[in-house]
Structures are given as structure tokens and as C-alpha cells.
Amino acid sequence: TGNQSSEDTTNDSGGDPTDTDDSDDGSPGGDGGASFEYVTTVAPSSLDPMKGSDNLETILLHNVYDPLLYYTDDTPPELQPWLAEDWEVGDDGRTYTFNLRDDATFHNGDPVTASDVQYSVQRMMEMQNGFSWMWSGILSPENVTAVDETTVEMTTNEVFAPFLYTLPFLYVVNQEQVEANAASDGNFGEHGDYGTGWLEDNDAGSGPYVLSERERSRQIVIERNEDWWGTFPDGNGYGTVTTDIVQESATAAGRMREGAEMSDQWLPLQTYNDLESADGVRVHAKATFNPFYIYMHTQRAPLDDVHVRRAISYAFDYEAALNDVMAGDSDHLQGPLPGAMWSHTEDLPTYEQDFEAAQAELDQSDYSASDLDLNYTYVSGLTTEESMGLLLQSNLQELGGSLTVERAPWSNITEMAANPDTTPDMLAIYLSFSYADPDTFLYPAWHSDSHGSWTSAAWYQNDEVDQLLTDGRRTVAQEDRVPIYEEAQRIIAEDAPALFVMNQATRNAISERVQGFKDNGITGYRQTFHRYHQG
Amino acid sequence: MADPILSVDDLSVAFETYEGRHHVLNGVDLTVDEGETVALVGETGCGKSVTAKSIMGTLPRPPGEITSGSIGYDGTDLLADPDAHERVQGEEMSMIFQDPMTYLSPVYPVGSMMADVASYSGGKSVSWLGVLKNMLGRRTNRSEIRERSIELLDRMRIPDPEGTLDRYPVELSGGMRQRVIVAMALINDPTFLIADEPTTALDVTVQDQILGLLRERVEERNLSMLYITHNLGVAREIADRICIMYAGEIVEVGTTEEIFDAPLHPYTRGLLDSIPKLTGFEGDGIDGQIPDYTDPPTGCRFHPRCPAAMAGTCDVEPVESHAVGDDRAVACHLYEDGMSFGEAATIAAEEADGATEDAPTAEAGGEP
């Protein structure tokens, strides 16, 4: 498939009401181009750029708002200039200076200025919602200064190497517009409601699309911003993007068959299989950054014994998991990091099913097979996780142990993981990916500072790893960080605090007409509608 | 004498239930002459209402079944001709019921029900549209019917008849309701009236009033009436002739005076004795209880309770009604057809003496 990065396309001159090149293909949308139907089974709960944090929200937000920096569509993605034309990092590794481009305007015509960036940080950090956790303790609003109209300076509280990689999630809002539309009574003191009410149905962004209609739980329409500073594919880009929210995967599949452009990645496998054979639809599957772990509670007997953990790691039938439970296109994880992430090392012990090895490990431990009376908890409704549990159950049975499989609603699981006593022996988790840095997987899962969060349900405690992961954050240069993470991966893999089951392939059903799609594995950044065009 | 207006002949009715077949009525003979009031008297469960329902044609079938007999009304056999039955039912015959509390629809003002009786009586069919119109309160000759109702209620001595028409039954006292029911029965000017214990649920004073009203109407319009009651006193007040019923059989028929003065059948006598009287009360009732209709006693149905029962006769031979004297019939093996009244009275007196020392003597009824 053709991959067209925005740099390749020539500058779009802006609104051309008579531009109807696409009229032979699909239904015409707004006057700027063809319409794009995106079908999803998940409804966004908020369209506030400082509140949104899940997949669909991110999709919509980064199409409507511009961040300072943007991800490329490579895997792993690199950073590309966006509102910031260029940037500098100070010698102390904490001071970042961004030069904004001067041709960017908000949808209402206001120019994007440094103070808007400053305001956006402030709004983000004061509302403490959405992606604010990324900068919590790292960036304080008072350390962001608008040096001049187009220069912003940010100083982090400490050296935080992944900082730049987090910036694609910091959306810039139009301060004046937000303030003008903020309700006076709200939870944010002098800021009233901080414009949260208004921003649900309106936008204050500068991005490639403008929010034109939001009908909760039914559809959201965004329309091409003809005055956008960036460039759309020449002539046959998409003018209107309609996000259709359907509850049923069957409906979603139906829409795809009927000619919708793209579906989300949450449909059942079976549905994708069916869609694959449908005319005009292709199913894009790629294992990027979607690791599935089965955490083992390293602070509770018998899982506190590394040999027991390894024995279990040897007992699990990865092959069945990858080929029978899954469709065969997911990767077996080698250590905690997905293979596509930089710093991933091939040089790690990988566990394959091997009962002899398992027995041998078990023999080395202080426990016998009969002590393996464990509990496996998974998120209600995720049949894949249930199947994994059942598989593990029968594998452990073979080893002589036993496993109960339990389901719990997600809200309960986060609750359970907050406390070592309530955390289940084994917990099935998809460790979702945020910013494009190894830190995003390793620190939340394996650093002891993260204990109490569902991301670290193994209650893994290894001082060496703690040190390495801290160093990884404090070291600015990427080439210096690679060996640090390689070492951390090695130790973690040996300690086997989880079954590193797989890196699950992400699927998207896409109409064969759509060109320019490339899965870079980043939540929300797969659906960069302004990069798409009709073939 | 002219033909009776109602003649029930050998009527037998059975009910099919899970316990088996109930042979309730067993060869009931009954006549009502024109302008005459006949009382049908008997204890609970003896089949009075079944008789009335058979005549009115409202016997539920199933489970009821008329196994034999005929019901003649004014020359037509009602059982043979259901159409005639329907016509007669609405136009000529009418009925008053025992329980004033339940014989009025609770959800319509009494006037509405009266109007329906006035206008639809007689099995006239009604279209769906008619039902709808009626429910919306549109009917033909509405005011005429209303006037008739008011007049009738007034004659029933109901204070404020106009207001009463618009009241719901709950708003009326028992006596008032019974008056309304009587008025309703009379609204189509029937010639024959069946009253099934219309005063049983009422106080004596109110009973007295209702009886007075009925008597008045009967005389005024020369109505024929079959009056059902278990109260011999009431029967005595209203009836010209009395039929005593026991266990689905008419055991004795006679003019009111004769029956009271000289009861022939041991059951009639027992019944009379059982009633406390102002003059004194010595009797102590009749032994035993009403028989089981699934397996009624052979022979005379009364024989298991009869103080005069003759073994070998009463428990074996079916009993026939014997005409005694001019206007008297009694179904008892003690008597024979064609006996004069005097003879019969003597037998009765002897029997009474045999049963108890101080039975009432029958000399008062000596002359026919």
C-alpha cells in the first residue's frame, strides 16, 4: 500500500469549493472532498482535549487539535515538527525551547501563540484529567513560559528522557475562545468549569479537521479545515469524516460491507475473518505495540519463587495461544518489550512450552506441583482472555497444579490491583501503549514506584531493575538508553514475573479505496485522516 | 280453571363435577297460575335456585344438564324452543335476586343498567357499533327510559329517584339496592316474575317493606310470581300457594293456609316445628342433613331423616306425588292418590303423635 507522508504532498492552497475530483468515488461529503466513514463500537466519553484519553477520543482529538510535535507513521514512530517548527533541549536535559510556526491559526481564525501553549499546559495540569498523568510531577504550569509570540520554554522538574515523546498528546487549545465560553460556576475556581461544558460539543483547536456535529452515542462529524496550515493529500483527501458509533460488531461489519471506509480494532476476530472475504474491504493486521501479559504475583507464595514462575512459563502452550486462540498473526513476546520498540533485544530467554523444563524448575523450587493452586483473573467480556485462562488452566493441570479462572469487571480489577492482598495470583492484562518510548512499557510495569497500579499487578520488586529504569528516564541520549533497557529486559525476563504471552496483532478493516493508512502502533495516531486519500 | 301460566313438569337437572354426577333436581313438578303467587320453600341447597335458573334459562350448561322434563310457559315449551325462551326471558319473565350487593354491576350507575334492561331486553342483538355507542352513553329514547326509571323508582319509594339513577351501587344501602333490583325487574312490565330470596339478606323491617311493595305490584298488575324463600314466615305472608322442596324434589304442595295449618309431609311438619315462634318453641329440628346429590338415597330422598320412615318401603320404592283433596299434593308413602284431605290429615296427626308426644294437632285444617 502506498504510504504518503505529509511532507511528500504539495502544499494545499486551501478551500476550493469547486474541487470535486472525488465525485466518482463514494458519496461526496463537504465541499472539500470525499467523505470518510469511520465505524466504531466504542463511544467517546469526552471530546475535551484535556479529558480524552482512550482510543477513539485520541483519534478525534489529534485530528481536531494540533500538538507541538507529531508522530510519523513509521514503526516505531519518530517525532516530526508540528505546531513547533523546531525545538532545542538545554544542556541540563530539562529545558526545552519550542519555536512555533507562525502560520497556524485556530479554527476561529485566531493565531496560535505561545501563550495558548502555556495555557494548554496549565489547563491540562490543573484539570488533572486525561493524559495529565504523563506530566504529573514532571512539568508544572509555572515552568512553562511564553518567551514571545512564537517561542515557548518548558522546564521539567527533573530530567525526563521520554518528555518529547509525550508531547504529541499535549493538544493546544485557543485560550481566548475557551475562556470566553467557560461557565462561571464549576470545579476550577476562578476558571469556572474551564470551558469543559462547551468543549464537549465545540472545538477550540487548530487541527486539520473541525468538529461540526456531535450526536452522543450515534455519530460525530468532523470536517476538513480548509485553512489548516498543514497539507492534505492533493485533490482526493477526505473532506468529511463521520464517526459512526454502533453498539454491535455485527453492525460495524455490516457498515464495512456497505462501504464504510474504516472500522476500529475492537471487533471480534471472527468478524474480521468474515470481513476479509468481503468485497472491497481489506483487513490490516500488524503486531505493533499490544503486549499481552499474564502477571504473576511475585510477592505471594508460591509465585514468590522464581522457579515456580519459570515452571509456569514453561508449562503454557504459547503455540495454541497464538494459533488457536488467536488467529496466528500475533507475535510471541520475547521479554517484556514488543519487538517493534527500539531497544528491544533479541538476546533474551524465551519461554516455549516444555514440560520437562517446567518440571525441572519446579523441582528446584521450594514448592511442589500440588502447591500450585492459583487464581487467574481477567476482564469481563474479553473472551480471548478467558480462553487464555482456560488454556493455562489445562496446562497447569498437566503440570499437576490447578487454576481457577475468574472474571471481574474492569473497574473491580483496577481496584484489586491497588493492594497486594487483593491482587489476584495471576492477572491477564493488555498493557496499553501510550507514548513511543520503551519507558511507557517498562516503568509502569516493573518499577516498584508503580506498585498499586494495574500496570504493575505482579508487585515486582527488583532494586537493580528499579535503578535501571530510573536511569533510563534520566539519560537523555537515546543511544545511551538502549543498553540500560536491554539490561533491564534481561533481568525481567529471567525473573519471569509474568507470562509474556504475545504481542497481539492489531486489526483494522479498511476499504480498499482508502490509501495512506499505515499502522504506527500508537493509540489514536493510526487514524490520521488528513494523511488518507482515495486511491 | 285456565291453563297455568307456568308449568314445570318432571324437571330433572344434573351437574357434572369432579366428584361425580350430582342429581340435583329429581322430577320437579310445579305450576303457577295467572295472577297467582307461588312460594317455593326449602332449605339451603335443596335446588330452589336451580329450578329458577332452569325456568329462566340461565342454568350454566355445562356443568348443568336438564335430563328430563319440560317447562311450559303460556303454552310454549321453553326447553324445546330456545328462541321463544329468549324472547320470553326478556319480555315477559323477569327475575329478582337474593343478594342486593352483587346483582348490580359495581362500575355503572344504577340508571345505566336499568336503561340497558329497558332497551335491550329480549335477546335483541346488538352490533359492535351499538356496544360502542352505548358505552359512550348514546342511546335512543334515552329520556323516555329515564323517565320510566324515575317513575318506577318513585313507586319503589326511593327518595330522590332522579339522583339515585346516577349513583353507583356502592353509594346505596342494601334496602335501596334491593328496591332498584325490583324496579329493574319490573321495568319491562313482565307478566311473570321469579323472585329468588329477594329479602334474605335484609333486616326484618326492610324485608317487610319490600314484601309490601311486591305484594302491591303483584296485585296492581296481576302479576304471576314464583317466590323462592327458605323462610316459611315470608312464604306465608306473600304466597297463595306453597311448594315445599326437599333435596331436589317437591315434597308437598298446597295453599298457604292448608300447608301451615295441616302439614302432611313429615318434612314439612319437621320444618314447621323447627321454627321458633312467638307462641313457643318446642321442636328440636330434623335429624341428619341434606343428602349427597352424587348418591342420593334410594326410594324417598327424605327417608334417612324421616321419623315416620317405613323400612322396606320408603328406602326402596321411589315416591310419587299423591294428589290429596282438591288442591293438595304430597310425595310420601304414607299417603295414597285420591285420599280425601280429612283422611290424610288423620294419618299425619297419627304420625306426629308417634314421633313426639306433643305434636301440633291438625284439627284446625279439617275443613278444605
Binding site: S45, S46, D48, Q128, N129, G130, S132, W133, S136, T196, E215, R216, S217, R218, V246, Q247, E248, A250, T251, P409, W410, S411, T414, E415, A418, W454, T455 | T58, E86, G90, S94, M95, F97, D99, T102, Y103, S105, P106, V107, Y108, M113, D116, V117, Y120, S121, G122, G123, S125, V126, W128, G130, V131, N134, M135, Y168, V170, E171, I181, A185, N188
Partner: protein, 341 residues
């Protein structure tokens, strides 16, 4: 006088019920283990953020104070913020409730229009084949799990025959009617928007039928038994002896009174219907309050959960109030009850 005082009395008596209901639900919601503030902020929120939200939500106050705050809000139409939609629950409910209302009401209408005649026919032919058939039909209906019935209908009518859409509330029509009542059928009819009307009716049919199955059965059974009971009453016999045509007896007298009994069942069934809507909306992806409620309950979105349950309870109380009023219309005796007791 009877009518008015009965109405007022009956109306007033729902107030304590409503208060009781709100206390019950509120307490239930607050004793749920779990940290709503943390849930609200997402898994990666910092502790300070959580604490400040707790303060905002007043979660550290004593329960009764929270309750009073809540009631204060409810009175002003503020049901609190939903964690999953980030909006005031009242706003959410305004959006979702009409869909549920449309669905449940249509289901109830179907149930009444099918159930009552079915019951009458059965009652008139007691113990004969129409009665037995209706009985069997009723049993089948009440025994069908609504979610399964929905799935079967989808399988056959939508997937196999392709006659009706399987899920959703309206197809791709444009323009969508402007929202006035929130009831799509009504809105599209008001706007003479034929495609929207057709599409939304098509979408309504399967879920409404699914929902109506159990109440059809209940209503039919109740109508039948009260019809038979009423038919057995003395006054019916009275009317018959007066030669009143059977049709008039059955439909003017008997049905009216027995419909009053049926009404009580209708009131009760409306509650069950709202309950079944919780699964049926899921099956048919009906964007109504019930699916919102299920989500809220599973996600422990306390305000949403309390809001949904309150609205469900309140609708139930309201419907039963209406039923009681109608009962009086069909059986005027109740007007008099207040006076003579």
C-alpha cells in the same frame, strides 16, 4: 370531591415512596466498594488528582450529608457528573431516556393491544381450544428469556430473512429529524420526514416485540382470569336473565371491570419491562437509558447508576399512579374508598 381528594391522596403517597427509593439507591451506590474518584480519573491518575476529585465530589462527608447534597442537586435538575460520559447525568438521561421510553411504551402498547383481546378470547372460550392455545402462547412468552428471544428474532428476521435491521435505532437517513420530543417516531412524524419515520419504525419493531412478549402473556392471563371471574359474577347472571345481549354484557360490563384488574398488571409489568429493557437494549444496541445504565453499573459510575435507577423507579411510580387513576375511571368504586373505610 371523591375524584380530586383521591387523586391528591394517591399523588401525595408517592412522595414518600420516591424519597424511600432515592435513599435506597443512594445508599446502595455509596456502599459499593471501590473508589469512584479513581475510576473517574482513569487508571493512571495521580493520588493528588484523586483526592481533589474526592473533595469535589464530597465523598469524604458523612453519608447523610452526601445524600442531602445530592437531593439538593436533584431538585435543581443536577444529578451529578457521570464518570463515563463526563456530563451531568441529567443531560445524559435526557438524551437516552426518550429512546427507552419510546421502546418501552411501544412494547406496552403492543402488549395491551395483543394481550387484552387474547385474554378476552380465551376468557370467552374458557377451557376450549382458543383458551388452551392462548394459555400455551402465554406460557411460551413468559418463559422466553428476553435476551434470547431477541437474538432469535435477529437471527431469523434480520439475518436470515433480512426483513428488518438487527440493531440500532435508526438507519442512515438524512436529514435526521430535529429533536423535539426525543422520540424518533414522533419527531419524524412531526417533520413529515418519511425516510426517518420508516427507518425508525423498522428499527423499533424487533426490540419492541421482544420486550412485549412477557407483558403480552401477563396481560392476556390477567385479562382472561379477571374476565372469567367477572363473568361469573351474580350481576352478569342478572343481566342475562333480563335478556341483555351477550355482546353487551361481555364488552360493556365484564370487560370494563376486568380491564381495571388488568390495569394493575400493566402497571407492574411496566416495571418489569423497564427491567427487561436492560438486556433487550443490549441485544439490539438500542441507544437507550438501559444500556447506559448497564454500562454505568458495571463501570461503577455512581451518579449515572443512581440517576438511571431513580428514573426507572420514578417512571415506575408514575406509571402506577396513572394506572391507579385509570383504575378509578374503570372502576369508580375506588373513588368512594377514601370516604367510607
Amino acid at each position: 370531591m371523591g375524584h380530586r381528594s383521591y387523586l391528591i391522596k394517591r399523588g401525595l403517597s408517592t412522595i414518600p415512596m420516591f424519597v424511600g427509593l432515592s435513599v435506597l439507591i443512594f445508599t446502595l451506590a455509596r456502599v459499593i466498594p471501590g473508589r469512584p474518584a479513581r475510576l473517574a480519573l482513569g487508571p493512571r491518575a495521580s493520588d493528588e488528582a484523586v483526592q481533589s476529585l474526592r473533595d469535589q465530589m464530597g465523598l469524604d462527608k458523612p453519608l447523610w450529608e452526601q445524600y442531602l447534597d445530592y437531593v439538593g442537586g436533584v431538585v435543581q435538575g443536577d444529578l451529578g457528573q457521570s464518570l463515563i460520559s463526563n456530563r451531568n447525568v441529567a443531560t445524559d438521561l435526557l438524551e437516552y431516556f426518550p429512546a427507552t421510553f419510546e421502546l418501552t411504551t411501544l412494547a406496552m402498547i403492543i402488549a395491551i393491544f395483543v394481550g387484552v383481546p387474547l385474554g378476552v378470547i380465551a376468557g370467552q372460550h374458557k377451557d376450549r381450544w382458543p383458551d388452551n392455545a392462548s394459555r400455551l402462547f402465554s406460557f411460551f412468552n413468559v418463559s422466553l428469556p428476553p435476551f434470547w428471544a431477541g437474538i432469535l428474532l435477529q437471527l431469523v428476521v434480520a439475518f436470515q430473512l433480512g426483513w428488518l435491521p438487527a440493531t440500532g435505532r435508526v438507519g442512515d437517513v438524512s436529514p435526521m429529524p430535529i429533536e423535539t420530543t426525543g422520540l424518533l417516531l414522533v419527531d419524524s412524524a412531526l417533520a413529515f420526514n418519511v425516510p426517518a419515520f420508516v427507518s425508525s419504525s423498522q428499527h423499533l419493531i424487533l426490540p419492541a416485540i421482544t420486550l412485549s412478549l412477557a407483558p403480552i402473556a401477563d396481560i392476556a392471563r390477567m385479562t382472561r382470569s379477571s374476565f372469567i371471574e367477572e363473568y361469573d359474577k351474580d350481576y352478569v347472571e342478572g343481566l342475562r336473565t333480563h335478556g341483555i345481549p351477550e355482546r353487551l354484557i361481555a364488552y360493556k360490563y365484564v370487560l370494563r371491570r376486568s380491564f381495571a384488574s388488568t390495569l394493575t398488571i400493566i402497571g407492574l409489568d411496566y416495571g418489569f419491562l423497564l427491567g427487561s429493557a436492560f438486556v433487550v437494549e443490549i441485544v439490539f444496541s438500542w441507544p437507550g437509558m438501559a444500556s447506559y445504565g448497564v454500562e454505568a453499573i458495571l463501570q461503577k459510575d455512581i451518579n449515572a447508576m443512581v440517576g438511571v435507577t431513580l428514573v426507572v423507579g420514578a417512571s415506575f411510580l408514575l406509571v402506577n399512579f396513572v394506572v391507579d387513576v385509570l383504575y378509578g375511571v374503570f372502576d369508580p368504586r375506588v373513588w368512594h374508598e377514601g370516604e367510607s373505610q
